[in-house]
Each structure stands twice: as structure tokens, then as C-alpha cells.
């Protein structure tokens, strides 16, 4: 699975939405795809566990889309 696929799988499992998120939703603003601040925290906790990383607090306000989370994961992995 690619990083994007893993990220979407985590978000869909944790958020348990009626309409699952797709690739097209990745670059959209979190608010525009119905992810509020608490949903986002839930996704980040799961992402940290899945990828065995720690996302610094100062990075969180900068992330406005799931694509930006994926980009951060790419940076951490590299």
C-alpha cells in the first residue's frame, strides 16, 4: 500500500463516515471534506501509531489537508 492508501484507510476506519474519503479528497481542505479539529486529532493519533512516528505539535496547525499529512509522512520516512 502507498502512503496515501494507508492514510485514507486510517481516516476511513477512524471516522466511520457514510461516504468514505477518496484520493480526490486528499488535497481538499479538511473543513471542506467534513473533518473538524477533533476528527483530525483522532486521525493523527492513529497515523502516529500506524507509522510509528511522533508528529510535533507545531506542525499540526500548518496541516490543512490530508495531502499535507501525507507529505509530512514522506518527510519523516525519508
Amino acid at each position: 500500500m502507498t502512503t496515501n492508501e494507508r492514510l485514507l484507510a486510517i481516516a476511513n476506519e477512524k471516522l466511520d463516515r457514510d461516504t468514505p474519503l477518496t484520493d480526490e479528497d486528499l488535497p481538499k481542505k479538511l473543513k471542506d471534506v467534513g473533518i473538524d479539529s477533533l476528527d483530525f486529532m483522532l486521525v493523527l493519533v492513529a497515523v502516529q501509531e500506524e507509522f510509528s512516528i511522533s508528529i510535533p505539535d507545531e506542525k499540526v496547525p500548518e496541516m490543512e489537508s490530508l495531502a499535507e499529512v501525507a507529505a509530512l509522512l514522506g518527510e519523516v520516512k525519508n
Binding site: 477533533l38 493519533v45 499540526v60
Partner: protein, 312 residues
């Protein structure tokens, strides 16, 4: 063995309606309803204080249990926002207001959302060691005093309330007895909830992260050590941090939603009073024979215990 005889409660006389200032707080009705769990939170009314709320809770206790304030051997007052800087300590001031006996020990405990369960452990042990027959556990922590009115991390959540729990040193049939207890402190993350400038600061992500990683593990540990399966627990009374956090903890534990109680509506997160406010209702529900109590928050700390009804 100590048991919980009765609980009285009181809430702030005023109401802060956050639904009337959605734009100012960058929020939505959907967020308030589904994530916070309430559109309004209780606030101290004119002339109300931490002490006066506590007195109201004690009067409610007395109304529900005649003679509840007779022969009390100890008063534990749990608060982090005491009146007048905390000197004299509020338990002593409450002792005076309630005209309690001279040979009654009074002390305050500084803990936030894990305070009720910690205090239950302290008083249960003290009652057994000292062999006095009754103790009063009071929580009253009006966080509105330290909340910045435009800080959406805190103003949407916290409400002002108090509780007064009567503990008796005997196994009364049908009443709940607590124990064992477990405790956890992750002090390295303690700055996630702090008050260094007179204003409460909360790193919501830090607290959420702590709660979902630590609380389920602590509850599982207590159940394992008690030899009780999660399906044998009738009700889970978790600190009402927010509706979302309580629901996520229930989900992480694999508990059906109906067994994880919610109680933020109309009052908000009432710090150390949130668990006794939930428990007050459960006392009158004989079908609930076993309960888990878990408080978590400032410290960062977690305190957990199992309640079982004494057999009739």
C-alpha cells in the same frame, strides 16, 4: 469497607450559550451537538463561589439522605480554584458553614478531572485506618474563573458545578463499594493543561492524545487485576472531557454506546464533579450492579476504580 451512601449536586446558576456566538468562536451547531455534547455550559451566578456551590451540593445531599451531615469524621474538598487563594482551606470553611463536629478532619486536595476517584481512594483508606463512620467528599471547581472567554479550546467545554458524596464505613446492602483503585501520572506531558498566568491553557491535541492512548489501557489493567470482564460491567462512568472523547474511549474499549454514560448536556465538563454527577443517577438504578469510574486530566493523571453493589 467504605460505601457510597448518597450524592448531592449543584450547578452554577447562570448559563453560557455558546450556540449564540458560533462565528466568534469559529464553531458550528453540529460541532457543539456532536463533539462537545452541549450548546450551553453552567456558570457561577451572582454571588456564587466554589464554597457556596459546595454548600448547595451538601444541602442537596442532606435533602436526599436525612442526617447525612451528622457525625462526619472527615471532609475532603477537591478543587483547583479555591476562593480567596485557598486560605483558609475550603474544607475548613465548609466545616464551619455546615457546623460539623469538632473532631472532624478537614483537608483540600488539588486535582482536576481525576480528582473524584483519587479522593475516593484517599477517604476509603483513611476511614478504614481511622475507623470513623462517615466522610464527606466534596468537589467544586468553577473553572470559569480561569477561562479566557474567547479561547474556544476551553470556553466551549468547561462548566461550573459541585458534588457532595457521603461515604460510610460499613457495607450497606444495595450501596456501591469502591475498589481496587489504580493510578497513573504522565508528568512529562503535564504542561498540556496548565495555569501559570491565571488563565487555563489546554493543548487539546496533547490531552486527546493522552486520553485515547492511556485511559483504555488503564481501564483494561484494572479489569484484568480485578478479574472482571468488560462485559460484566454494567456501566462505564468516564470523566466527561467532551462527548467525542468519551465516545472514542468507549469505542477503543469495545463497549456498546449505551453502557458508556454521557452527561455534558446543559452543564459541560465540570472537572472533578463530572463523575459524581453521573454516579448520582446510577445510585438509583438497581439494574446497574457494577460500574467502572475513570477520571483523567490535569497532571496528566488517570485514576480508575471498580464499584460493586453490596449484596442484599
Amino acid at each position: 469497607m467504605a460505601c457510597i451512601r448518597e450524592i448531592g449536586t449543584a450547578t452554577g446558576a447562570e448559563v453560557l450559550d455558546n450556540s449564540s456566538r458560533l462565528e466568534e468562536l469559529d464553531t458550528s451547531l453540529e460541532f457543539l451537538d456532536e463533539k462537545i455534547g452541549t450548546r450551553t455550559v453552567a456558570r457561577l451566578g451572582e454571588g456564587q463561589t466554589a464554597l457556596s456551590l459546595a454548600i448547595e451540593a451538601c444541602r442537596d445531599l442532606e435533602a436526599r439522605c436525612a442526617g447525612a451531615l451528622d457525625a462526619v469524621g472527615a471532609v475532603l474538598f477537591c478543587t483547583q480554584t479555591p476562593d480567596d487563594g485557598g486560605i483558609p482551606h475550603l474544607s475548613a470553611r465548609l466545616h464551619r458553614e455546615l457546623d460539623l463536629d469538632r473532631d472532624c478532619g478537614c483537608f483540600d486536595v488539588s486535582l482536576g478531572c481525576s480528582g473524584f476517584v483519587h479522593s475516593l481512594a484517599i477517604l476509603s483508606a483513611m476511614m478504614q485506618a481511622q475507623q470513623f463512620s462517615r466522610a464527606l467528599l466534596v468537589t467544586s471547581d468553577p473553572y470559569s474563573r480561569i477561562i479566557e472567554p474567547h479561547d474556544r479550546n476551553t470556553v466551549l467545554l468547561f462548566g461550573d458545578a459541585a458534588s457532595a458524596t457521603l461515604l460510610v464505613n460499613e457495607s450497606i446492602p444495595g450501596c456501591f463499594s469502591p475498589g481496587p483503585f489504580s493510578f497513573c501520572t504522565l508528568s512529562a506531558q503535564g504542561e498540556a493543561i496548565s495555569n501559570t498566568t491565571g488563565t487555563l491553557r489546554m493543548n487539546g491535541r496533547g490531552v486527546f492524545d493522552f486520553a485515547v492512548r492511556t485511559v483504555p489501557a488503564e481501564i483494561r489493567k484494572l479489569l484484568r487485576d480485578s478479574g472482571v470482564g468488560k462485559d460484566e460491567v454494567d456501566v462505564f462512568l468516564l470523566h466527561q472531557g467532551s462527548q467525542f472523547i468519551v465516545q472514542q474511549l468507549g469505542r477503543a474499549l469495545g463497549i456498546p454506546p449505551g453502557r458508556v454514560r454521557l452527561g455534558l448536556d446543559g452543564i459541560g465538563n465540570t472537572v472533578s464533579s463530572s463523575i459524581p454527577i453521573l454516579l448520582k443517577d446510577v445510585l438509583g438504578q438497581p439494574g446497574c450492579r457494577t460500574a467502572i469510574l475513570c477520571g483523567f486530566g490535569v497532571g496528566l493523571s488517570v485514576a480508575t476504580t471498580l464499584l460493586k453493589r453490596n449484596t442484599i
